[in-house]
């Protein structure tokens, strides 16, 4: 009895371990977050960039329009490339582009905007990077498409031509 049971157990355990490792081989170890989400916007408080006004999440996304919340910074190189596209999106009627200025110096950010133009209707000044984390952002640049206080879609990394077309088609 003992002699029969032991090999069966050992082979069984080996088979289980083999299946686990074999399955694990196919999984990527790099974490890719979900891009299609429909979550309520997080609650946050922050200061606005050009005024000392403190804003609250509950009255920030009130309008009927779509919002594109863009996390950006003057020290971020891809943001520079993305900026032209944001200027383009600014012209879209049903869309409001708002920004979170992430871990930036105010002077640098102002220079950045005066050099490349300001696509943002409002900018939240996030010097400690805390508001970006409240949003579940990873870094800069990152964009959230919002409608009726719900995040429809998030874009990690810089936007490109294809993605801006996608945004435009979603809005229509």
């Amino acid at each position: 009895m003992k002699n029969k049971l032991l090999p069966i157990f050992i082979t069984l355990i080996f088979i289980i371990i083999f299946i686990f490792f074999y399955k694990g081989l196919q999984n990527t170890s790099i974490y890719t977050p979900q891009t299609k989400i429909s979550n309520k916007i997080p609650s946050f408080k922050g200061d606005l960039f050009y005024s000392d006004e403190t804003i609250n999440s509950s009255n920030f996304f009130k309008s009927e329009k779509f919002y594109l919340l863009n996390v950006w910074s003057s020290w971020c190189v891809p943001c520079r490339k993305e900026h032209v596209l944001l200027m383009d999106l600014k012209e879209v009627k049903k869309l409001k582009v708002v920004g979170i200025n992430y871990k930036d110096k105010k002077i640098n950010a102002e220079n950045f905007l005066s050099e490349l133009g300001n696509p943002y209707e409002k900018i939240i000044f996030d010097q400690e990077g805390i508001i970006a984390i409240e949003w579940g952002a990873y870094g800069v640049p990152e964009s959230f498409l919002i409608k009726d206080e719900v995040i429809i879609k998030r874009y990690i990394g810089p936007l490109d031509k294809k993605l801006t077309e996608e945004i435009k088609s979603i809005i229509k």
Binding site: K2, Y31, P33, I133, G139
Partner: protein, 121 residues
Amino acid sequence: MKIFKLFFIIYLISSFNNLEASNDDIKSKITKNLRCLVCQGQSVYDSDSEFAISMKILVDKKLAEGFSEIQIYDFFKERYGEWILYDPELNKNTYILWLLPILIFVIGGAIIIKSFIIKKN
């Protein structure tokens, strides 16, 4: 009297230190269990990336607001998914991970006990 005063001052200073330390302990315990998502393979505690620095500030703030450890984990889990925690929870994806060692331990124990009984007989 002077000695009393001196002792009192030393006591005060040492008690302040304790207060600080206990708060730091919880903070480092939490940040060690949080995964830095932009520098994978490191915990937030170990990392000095911009992301990790912000996370540390946020953990500090939440602790000051009176959040418990579990509430802070829930806060991050809601935003970044369960992957952000190093310590996996028991759920349908991880139950084998948690139960397999116990199962092996029980089976192994059973085999050993059985072999003892057979030897005695």
